[in-house]
């Protein structure tokens, strides 16, 4: 029986009992309670002070002021001679608790490379982090409304980015090769993915690009997915496609844009980008321009 049919055959009664079973965990949550909101605000304030102290310590180190740097980094009570202008105290922290702190941490990390812990990678070997577009540079008017972007781990079990994707290996398998997948979020929505696949030779990388292009050109919904219709159209940009998925069950159609491109700086590497158009307003030309921009940021490396 197709999986979709089994999905539909699940009864309301079964659904209600499963929901009740999982809902029972709420008893443990209520029993444990949640901390007072002021505790949470204080935690935010302490983090901000640590961030500022870190910046100050860095500056101090440059100037050779090692003693000040030590004090600024240390949350313990100061042992320095009294000089309230340079010591962060618990009292200072309390005083700032009542105000929303400035947005320090994210602004200071713009264009920083992706953090290794945010990547889903093969077990054996990991692509160079410079092959990935820095998470902050994924922000765009078209796909994020100008909102900032950040990387994070998503729900990933294997390398597949889209239906028909020929790069389909499960994590930890003997044939997984060298890959890394980065998910990009904005405003709580996952909208972007970059998969970097590093092949053994330049020729193998070219062949990989050809395989992905061929798969996209001929892409149709798999026979068992009888509830969806795929419409794949090439964009003006070579290697870029629009994938529109329509659902028989009434789910709103989805539009993804996919782009596969070989790197120039590391020609054994191939990046495949996937952008989800949650706004449903992106035009093909806008998507192609955005994919080309991301591609340029990646392929120089």
């Amino acid at each position: 029986m197709p999986e979709e049919q089994e999905f539909q055959d699940w009864t309301k009664d079964q659904d209600a009992r499963l929901r009740a079973a999982l809902g029972s965990l709420r008893h443990d949550v209520d029993a444990a309670g949640i901390p007072d909101v002021r505790f949470v605000m204080r935690r935010a304030s302490r983090q901000r002070h640590r961030a500022i102290a870190g910046i100050a310590a860095g500056a101090a180190a440059v100037l050779g002021l090692s003693w000040f740097g030590f004090q600024a980094l240390d949350d313990a009570p100061s042992t320095a001679p009294a000089d309230n202008s340079t010591v962060t105290t618990e009292r200072d922290q309390e005083a700032t608790t009542e105000q929303p702190p400035d947005e320090v941490s994210e602004d200071s990390t713009e264009a920083a490379p992706v953090d290794r812990v945010d990547l889903f990678t093969s077990e054996a070997s990991i692509p160079d982090l410079s092959l990935f577009v820095p998470p902050a540079l994924w922000s765009s008017d078209v796909f994020t409304g100008g909102s900032p972007t950040e990387s994070a781990l998503g729900e990933v079990e294997g390398t597949t980015l889209f239906d028909c994707d020929p790069d389909d290996v499960m994590w930890g398998g003997p044939d997984e090769g060298t890959f890394g997948i980065m998910g990009i979020w904005s405003d709580g929505s996952a909208f972007g993915t970059q998969r970097v696949r590093v092949l053994d030779t330049v020729e193998a990388a070219s062949g990989y690009v050809d395989d992905v292009n061929a798969a996209l050109s001929d892409c149709e919904a798999p026979p068992e997915a009888d509830n969806i219709i795929l419409d794949v159209q090439p964009l003006e940009l070579s290697g870029a496609y629009r994938i529109r998925t329509e659902f028989a069950d009434g789910t709103e159609p989805m539009t993804d844009f996919v782009y596969v491109v070989q790197h120039d700086g590391t020609p054994e590497a191939v990046s495949t980008f996937r952008l989800v158009d949650w706004s449903r307003e992106a035009t093909d030309a806008q998507a192609a321009a955005e994919l080309e921009r991301l591609g340029r940021l990646a392929t120089d490396h």
Partner: protein, 166 residues
């Protein structure tokens, strides 16, 4: 928005939504300590950026995503310990769930991480398939597949059968 108004706004948001976030992360990780800590961390980060996040259509989606992300990182660090508990036939909740909830937590631990996350988001956060895809980065078809497999495994583990109200 004035500082006092922002603080009141955040407090109301926190009180209304924090237990739901803890519940979601608890189901995802099976660890109450991680659930509580990651939820606090997510709300702390939200407060740091409240001027921006309060303008979002769904500030809760942002907090939920950050909390799950922080929790999964912490949970992976604890995996060795959890696996040891699972090998001995039990889950490893820090604060001790009620006896009837042990079975639910144990059943959840039999699911793979992405499946458990989809199930928790659907049944605890009441999110439809498309929204789960939006918050997790998985394709809609993948989420449906996760839910299908998760339901089947949980139904077997919890002995939920059609027309069986026992």
């Amino acid at each position: 928005m004035s500082t006092a108004a922002a603080q009141q706004d955040f407090e109301e948001f926190y009180r209304a939504t924090a237990p739901r976030v803890v519940h979601l992360v608890y189901a995802t990780t099976g660890d109450m300590t991680i659930a509580q800590d990651s939820t606090q961390e997510a709300f702390a980060r939200a407060w740091q950026r409240w001027a921006t996040i309060s303008e979002y259509d769904e500030p809760l989606a942002w907090v939920r995503t950050v909390a799950r992300r922080v929790a999964i990182s912490a949970w992976r660090r604890e995996q060795a310990r959890d696996r040891a508990y699972v090998r001995h036939g039990a889950v490893a909740p820090t604060d001790g769930p009620g006896l009837d909830r042990v079975a639910v937590l144990a059943a959840l631990q039999t699911l793979s991480e992405p499946i458990r996350e989809s199930v928790a988001l659907h049944y605890i956060a009441d999110m439809p398939v498309e929204q789960i895809a939006r918050e997790t980065g998985a394709a809609v078809g993948t989420v449906k597949s996760h839910l299908h497999r998760g339901r089947r495994q949980l139904a077997e583990a919890l002995e939920i059968k059609e027309n069986d109200h026992a």
